[in-house]
């Protein structure tokens, strides 16, 4: 009989955070000079880097849309990013994650301005400690803006969950495998709209409302961080 591990003790989580606290964040723009645009985002121990190529000529040609740009997204985990090595190459999980991230980003890009072209987004998870798709999307959003691609807004992503019966913000570490519910979302604060939403685990309607509201609060904080990273790239520049 396995012992039930307590994930919340005296209102604090295993890493010392309060229930509604985000992990430490770091955001940067322009980390991959070769790409049109790039972004870096870190949430606790989860690190993602994203690069955007395009708009550029699209291959294979049969995918070209005469009316708008075709957006492609590849979410990939580096083999050394997790505790047990991940086999290189796409998996069913990474294909699904690529799809939901692409759909969220497609919603904000002004694709009509680039008929027949392709916009390609590559997300690499360098270190995985839960909420990887959120961190990846945050990096991708920065990368798209860095690339000068016209967008309606930046898009921020963060997760909420249920752990030891409590609703918490930003799932990390053991909370991912031992927790009861995982809810990643992507959100645009100005529009008050959700563009990515997935949930697994058993939860009541009331708990779900609380979790979504909490995740939205987290997204608002992350949105400001993304904005800061983009502006910093130019404001920080020292004139010699």
């Amino acid at each position: 009989m396995s012992e039930e591990k307590k994930l919340i003790v005296n209102g604090k989580r295993l890493d010392g955070r309060a229930l509604d606290e985000l992990r430490e964040m770091e955001a940067r723009a322009g980390v991959i000079p070769r790409a049109e645009g790039s972004g870096y985002f870190r949430l606790g121990n989860t690190i993602a880097v994203a690069a955007v190529y395009g708009p550029r000529q699209l291959h294979p040609k049969h995918l070209t849309d005469p009316l708008r740009a075709y957006v492609r997204c590849r979410y990939n985990m580096a083999p050394f990013s997790t505790k047990d090595r991940v086999r290189p190459g796409p998996s069913r999980r990474s294909i699904e994650i690529s799809k939901v991230i692409k759909e969220a980003l497609q919603a904000v890009i002004f694709v009509d301005e680039f008929p027949k072209a392709g916009i390609e987004i590559f997300i690499e998870i360098l270190q995985a400690d839960a909420s990887t798709r959120c961190v990846g999307l945050n990096a991708a959003s920065i990368a798209l803006a860095d690339a000068g691609i016209p967008m309606r807004d930046l898009i921020a992503s963060c997760s909420a969950g249920k752990v030891d019966g409590e609703i918490v913000l930003d799932i990390a570490g053991d909370e991912d495998c031992e927790g009861e519910v995982d809810l990643p979302i992507a959100y645009i604060p100005r529009e008050n709209k959700i563009y990515l939403l997935q949930m697994d685990g058993l939860i009541t309607k009331e708990e779900l409302k609380k979790a979504i509201d909490m995740a939205i609060k987290g997204c608002k904080i992350i949105y400001e961080k993304q904005k800061e990273a983009l502006k910093k790239k130019y404001e920080e520049f020292e004139v010699n």
Partner: protein, 264 residues
């Protein structure tokens, strides 16, 4: 071949509160579920939802458990969107749509925790029963996720576990016991067209859909959600969709899945 004109027509109708076939926004097309359709499968169901046809088969196989759950049986869901079902589908390995469909149906069943996987253990760490659910879409006329999910649950409800021979191999055709489910998860996908939300779109309506939210409910709770498509949902729209799904799930459960299930 659907065109801009068709999409505009659907949008206009929905904006005015109407649907081409006269249904209400929360009404499903005629639904037929035939259990035990395939004799060689341990469980199966043919779902006909309007003109959409999905056949789901369950095969009980023996395999190794996952290393982090040595005492639990395994659940696998796969989906085929083969060229037989639509001029849009190509033959080949599952593409992102097929993978998403399989994983959404999988999570709806897995996270509902209605199957006691520990009861499927034969030899801890060595041998367990694997429930292999295969979704075969035969005709795509809209709303594949809901139809496939209904098919998977219906197939599980008439799945039996075969006896094992002396040498440990499966004695096909025999029945050791029925697979027990402690609840009936129902997936309901809310589709957004403009500012309105509808259920069970036809193929034509699906072209006009801006975004969708699949919500799976079981025993009064929500166990899985997946948003797809390009448009955004406000938190209020998400909560409204949850209410619709809870209500519809109960309705379908009462009408099609009585607890003492028919064993045709």
């Amino acid at each position: 071949m659907l065109t801009e004109i068709d999409v505009e027509y659907v949008r206009k109708m929905v904006e005015e509160g109407k649907r081409e076939d006269g249904r209400g926004f929360e009404e499903f097309r005629p639904l037929k579920i035939e259990m035990g359709y395939v004799k060689n499968a341990e469980g199966s169901a043919m779902v006909t939802l309007g003109e959409t046809k999905v056949l789901v088969g369950v095969k009980m196989e023996i395999g190794e458990p996952f290393p982090d759950t040595p005492n639990e049986g395994v659940l696998i869901v796969n989906a085929e969107l083969g060229p037989i079902a639509s001029p849009e589908f190509e033959s080949g390995p599952p593409d992102e749509d097929a993978i998403e469909l399989a994983r959404v149906v999988d999570r709806g069943i897995r996270e509902a925790k209605v199957i006691d996987l520990e009861k499927l253990c034969i030899e801890p760490g060595e041998k367990v029963w694997m429930i292999c659910i295969d979704i075969h879409v035969l005709n795509d006329c809209g709303n594949l996720i809901d139809a496939s999910s209904l098919g998977a649950v219906a197939a599980l409800l008439n799945t039996h576990i075969p006896k094992l021979k002396e040498d440990g191999t499966i004695d096909r055709g025999t029945v050791d016991r029925k697979l027990e489910l402690s609840g009936i998860p129902i997936a309901c996908t809310i589709h957004k067209i403009g500012s309105k939300m509808i259920l069970d779109p036809t193929m034509k309506e699906e072209e006009a859909v801006d975004g969708r939210l699949t919500i799976t409910t079981v025993n009064g709770m929500i166990c899985a959600m997946q948003k797809g498509g390009k448009c955004g949902f406000t938190p209020e729209e998400v909560f409204k969709a949850i209410d619709i799904s809870l209500k519809k799930g109960e309705e379908i459960r009462k009408k099609y899945f009585q607890r003492d299930v028919n064993e045709e």
